[in-house]
Amino acid sequence: MADLVNLTIDGKAVAVPKGTLIVDAAKTIQNDIPVFCYHPKLKPVGMCRMCLVEIGTPKMDPATRQVVKDDKGVVVIAWQPKLNTACTTPVSEGMAVRTQTTVVSDAREDVLEFLLTSHPLDCPICDKGGECPLQNLTLEHGPGNSRFEYENKQHNAKHVPLGDLIYLDRERCIQCSRCIRFQDDIADDHVLQFHERGRHMEIITLSEPGFDSYFSGNTSDICPVGALTTADFRFKARPWELGSSPSVCNHCAVGCNTTLNTRLDTKTGINEIKRVMPRQNEQVNEIWLCDKGRFVHHYTRAGDRLQKPLIRQNGQLVETTWERALDLVSSKLLGASSVAAVIGDRIANEDAHLLTKLVNSNAKGETRLSPALPASYADLARDYGVGVGFDMKQLGKGDVIVVVNGDVEEQAPVWFLRLRQAVVDRGAKLIVSNHRGTKLHRYAAHIARYEQGMAAQWAAQTDDAALSTEELTKARNVLFVFGDEKLDAVSARGLAQILVGKLVAAGQIGKPNSGLLPLYPHGNTQGVFDIVAGTRHSGNPGVLSVDVAWLVGVGDTSDAPKARFSVVSELFMTALASVADVVLPALSFAEREGTYTSGDRRVQRFYRALPAVGQAKPDWWAVQEVARRMGFVWNFASPAQIFTDLAANVSYYSGLGYEVLAKTESQWPPVGRDDLYYGGTGYENDGGIGVRYASNPSVISAPTLPKMITSMSDLKGPARKLYQTGELIKRSDVMQTHIE
């Protein structure tokens, strides 16, 4: 690379890209210069002085403007008279850095002695204890004692609610401003600031409602001490007692990688999720999560989880055995002349595939996606989606991002953070078009407006110069982010089609960072669609009339076909379950493994973190048991085997398998748990970073489409809000005041 800069750190030669800060350069050769305020995801501020090092540059002869060499021909280094912060100083050619000298270690001792003057040292009851940079660095570099008088310790409030999700302990805060900078520079919700100066400096908020941000939990992760804790995890467990399993959030199309921290609950005696943490994936969520993904998990251990199969007898649902329930379902299916499966878009690919396979064996079997509307455009979103090599972090100067009819912060929160950075930090041009205001409007170079429901008409007719073929052709890449809010099936597909047309006209097809990016309702809309799309078609389930319907994870009652006999696989006694003939208790994503396909077509594995609840079983198991009773010779022992079958049947997934999906890559910056260097309690990616399957711009649309569209004529996309009520969020105590 042309832009490499050479320097030495403690005599060791390093070459790093121009602009790299000394701390990061040192990290590449495993030299951990201690830091508190510096965080590789935030702009450096040099506030804590922990990273002081000796810095020198080649001595120049002022007369000859040549580098001075000693008699042995070695370049003479001019050392700066004072120590300097490694976190704010970029490397330069020939620079020399000393990190292990007495002056440096004295400085580290002194800084720690100051930081601890008023620190309460309550590690034994601190949530961060065990994963705390202050603890670790004090052990490694601290003075061991203090010259400050104990009586002069300043005492501050220890339980300050900054909102109902995050608490501040003022004594523990070391004023590093990471939380403030996260809120200012990444979330753009300026709800935290410093107040006063010197020894009186403290974090304050005037936010109303408290900590008004969808991303507040991240501040607790990156706080280098135990000053910010979440209402959810506060005093619940010590970090070293927690089990951890890689997982994937299924609440929106982003597909954030998570780690589920679990432990036996002492009161209930059952294993439960204690916290949901980000699992680093620089391609997906980096090290962030939204608060929904972080705090909604409580439904997995809600007291009203279905534990046993139920069948309807004399008008009542009564408990039964799996044996009887499965016998009943298989006999009904055998006798049925028409069958439908409706599959919710948070159901794993494996379950969707097996149920689809079973239903398709019926000559009149139909499979449908729920919610249904995305099926009207998901084929276009897939075939004209971003390229295999798509990397949101590469979007910047020269690129055009167009957001049409979507509210990215509400509908795909972590994409909001990342798209915003592409625009604000890296100079991508943002065009926003909507019938209402959204937070992304703040950064738009160009704003267009249309009447509610008229997105497609707007896109078809706009003579906006910013969207002209000429402008879009000039762009390095064009990314169309779009949603279906207030659109019916015809206009939702119409919108996608027009956007495809623009991509084609501008020659923006087949590039990694150009294409469509859909704002789907949940975490596996694309996956379930991919599976049902190839079968007898995938329109509106509400218009079907069948003998037997099997509904898995379906929330919306209008997605239920008219059926003589209905089977519902569910976690809870939902509206649809309560009117079913058979109710099968399902496992939540945390109690089993499987895969989801994100909105940008990344297929990702999630793993089992908790034991089953009662007699609940994974949906694929129930489907297979029914199939066997119907005479199929199926012997899928695990989701991995089902996935292999899926990959053999759904062409887009060919070549994929559990092994490749579990592959990881080393992530930069290293912010994972085993490497506490930069601080932050997120996890390294140990479960696989997933694989994006290729789009296929040569197929434009399935022939069944027009019929499908008519079947959806009465559907309209809702205005989805992040905290809108639902079966899952309503079972999370900590989220109660946020639910809309």
Binding site: V191, Q193, F194, H195, E196, I204, T205, L206, S207
Partner: protein, 158 residues
Amino acid sequence: MLKDKYKDRIAAIFAKYPPERKRSAVMPLLDIAQEEYGYCTEEAMREVAELCGIDPTEVKSVVGFYTMYYEKKVGKYVIDVCDDLPCVLRGADKFVNYCEQKLGIKAGETTPDGKITLNVVMCLAACDRAPMCQVNTAYHYDLTPDKFDKLVIELKKG
């Protein structure tokens, strides 16, 4: 509401800044707020935030940083004594103790008659003549208990 009562002054302030830099007006607007209410009330901070298009938390942060913005009711006269290191080397800490004793209040408090507030503040840029203080906008140098007694008599009159 400031925005109605001081409409013209506010407009004149905003005219000094480019329209996309409205946040730059936060300090002059806080001056108006303090003039109106005697100190920066939370309501006033929210009002200023709205006028400048920033978050109220950011306004409070500004108020907290500068010692001449007050967050609670102050006396007619505010005595700010600098107790930064150079001033302390010249006896400012003992001087503050004397002031507290003389006024019968602690630093940060106001006399019961509402006349005088005593504050200790950061650098007032006059350490060469410490102990020193600022009374509202006027500086007083080379202070002694004697001089302070006289100063207090003057202030209590006014």
